[in-house]
Symmetry: C2
Subunit: 211 residues, 2 copies
């Protein structure tokens, strides 16, 4: 089997196939790269329909990233999928508080999820904050409350938890709101989708081999 070709060539060819199969569907500049990278990550064209962007989402995220931003995830898996080399080049960092022993202890004491406590931790951080939530609807719900209370003002909320309970409702909270958002409406999403969205924005800001 003589299939093995350069990773950059594979990625380029993949994006060509995705663009071709999207046919006459077009997306605004900046958003298009996000939609295609999510399809690249999932092979699922449903994301062409379910990804919703606030008008300022891409511009706000790019501004924050070029100034040096902290990206907060709700899983170590999303953290693991984010391109942290390019993020570091841009002067940013990525954090996940889910596995911190203190977060687990406080969550247990209060009878809430670790995701809730993680968001409270993250919301008190200084500087530009971008949230990438691919798993826990409770993270998204608590984050929405913290924004309403004026505790934080994220440059972008990526809200793409996946699942069957609380998920759809948690995402709807952000739609049409004043916080810049990228939301996958419905049940679908995931840590891989959250990471892909962040990477798609990062890649627009740097020279990168391949696509």
């Amino acid at each position: 089997m003589s299939l093995i070709i350069k990773p950059t060539e594979i990625e380029k060819k993949s994006f060509e196939i995705i663009t071709q199969e999207l046919g006459e569907r077009t997306f605004p500049a900046g958003q298009s790269e996000v939609v295609k990278r999510v399809i690249h990550t999932t092979a699922d064209f449903d994301y062409a329909d379910n990804l919703c962007f606030s008008e300022d989402a891409i511009a706000s995220a790019k501004q924050a990233l070029t100034q040096g931003a902290t990206i907060v995830t709700d899983t170590n898996m999303a953290l693991s999928g984010i391109n942290k080399n390019i993020l570091a080049e841009l002067g940013g960092t990525a954090r996940c508080f889910m596995a911190e022993p203190e977060v687990a202890r406080i969550a247990k004491e209060r009878g809430v999820t670790r995701a809730v406590v993680s968001m409270e931790y993250a919301s008190r951080m200084e500087g530009n904050l971008i949230f990438a939530i691919g798993n826990a609807p409770t993270a998204l719900i608590r984050l929405h409350e913290l924004i309403q209370e004026g505790v934080c003002k994220p440059a972008l909320v990526v809200g793409v938890p996946v699942g069957f309970v609380n998920v759809v409702e948690s995402k709807e909270l952000f739609l049409g709101g004043s916080t810049p958002y990228i939301i996958a409406r419905g049940r679908k999403g995931g840590s891989n989708v959250a990471a892909a969205i962040i990477n798609a924005i990062e890649y627009q800001l740097v020279k990168r081999e391949g696509f």
Copy 2:
């Protein structure tokens, strides 16, 4: 919004919804848990159709895991998603060689992917091996060659790379073969799917709160 309930309750309710929506579809014991956990991870019911199991896949993986197995992934993201606490309880470990500097150096010298070199490294390990490939078709292709050459004899190959180039073909290599396999036919899959499949087998072997 009074949505927040216990994580174990959310998981239980989610599996009830999945079972209900699968309707009259049934799967053999052991496979059913895998199919449902992958749907739980992706909210994508396509996996009810595209997951293919060799007859001995679940039994072989369970035997290896109870004896203490090494799970080899092709991404740090899949490694991150595998429940390593339960794996450790079972006497096993999980490894990913993709970020090893030596792997990168050798891959560059030989003009192959890091995934290829990772598989060569992993195939020389002693003990029970389970491969969880959620990203690189080149990993799956090289692994198939190594098995054909008698270099290793995995207890299970989880072959669920995602994508548009080489992916479908790399998976077809294993279908109907003598190596125990769980393959997601077609383009879909991912590191999250690979981790979910491993976790679904682990959870069958231990008492676990919730589902």
